[in-house]
Symmetry: C2
Subunit: 145 residues, 2 copies
């Protein structure tokens, strides 16, 4: 059981923006900071923007900022938005061919477990991911990448 790289990268983008609240950041510098593919980040940022988790300004002097304070950006909401699905087993998907589906008791159990997972993440915001002392350390780590 994993989150997608897509969600992983989206959290990294938000952390990066949270670490630099005083200016716009470019996809280029975020990609360089984490040493990851700029192309991957483009799509991630596009969805983050369309979901309202980042604000994107075009043109020279453009770049990305957070549209609200880090304590207003909830981790469960980010994960729920960025994960393609929470289709734990086949019967959660459209092309389900599992024959016992009409009588199976597994789906509500897995749905409850998934809710519990997201309920834990709902207790955290981007502000919790930053934290003063760790934020300074992360900024240094990103600069030396």
């Amino acid at each position: 059981m994993r989150l997608t790289q897509y969600t992983d990268f989206s959290i990294r983008v938000l952390i990066y923006l949270g670490l630099h609240p005083d200016r716009r950041c470019t996809i280029q510098e975020i990609a360089e900071g984490y040493n990851i593919s700029r192309n991957h980040l483009m799509k991630v940022v596009q969805q983050l923007a369309s979901a309202g988790f980042v604000t994107s300004a075009r043109g020279s002097g453009g770049g990305l900022t957070l549209p609200r304070a880090p304590d207003q950006i909830n981790l469960a909401e980010v994960v729920a938005e960025m994960e393609p699905d929470f289709a734990m087993v086949e019967c959660f998907r459209e092309n389900n061919e599992c024959v016992i589906t009409p009588a199976c008791r597994l789906p509500p159990m897995l749905a409850r477990a998934t809710r519990a997972y997201l309920d834990v993440l709902r207790q955290y915001s981007l502000a919790d991911l930053l934290g003063k002392s760790d934020a300074a350390k992360m900024k240094l780590l990103l600069r030396s990448a």
Copy 2:
């Protein structure tokens, strides 16, 4: 966020065996019952056996049985055993290259969420997955597959 097909199939095998407590079942009939690949099931059953979730008898008249009562087979234990990992993001893996890892606060949050997920599943056993009325219905569905 998904479970692997491997875990999905392993739960189906256990349900099948739980539905037929009075006899040994073959991989062949389970594959036919669910209309899934026998080759996939082979590996699943091998790991289920080596983890002690099924007992496998070789030779003619051989086949699979449950080594203990369904209420003694815990869903969280099955999922924890059969999932390749719970490596939610890159830093949970060996080849981690995320530069902010030494200062990042995300891993313990995701670990807590994963524990909450498994804690819900720990409340259920294979007996809960069967249930009398649904068991009869599932047996019919498997026969008509």
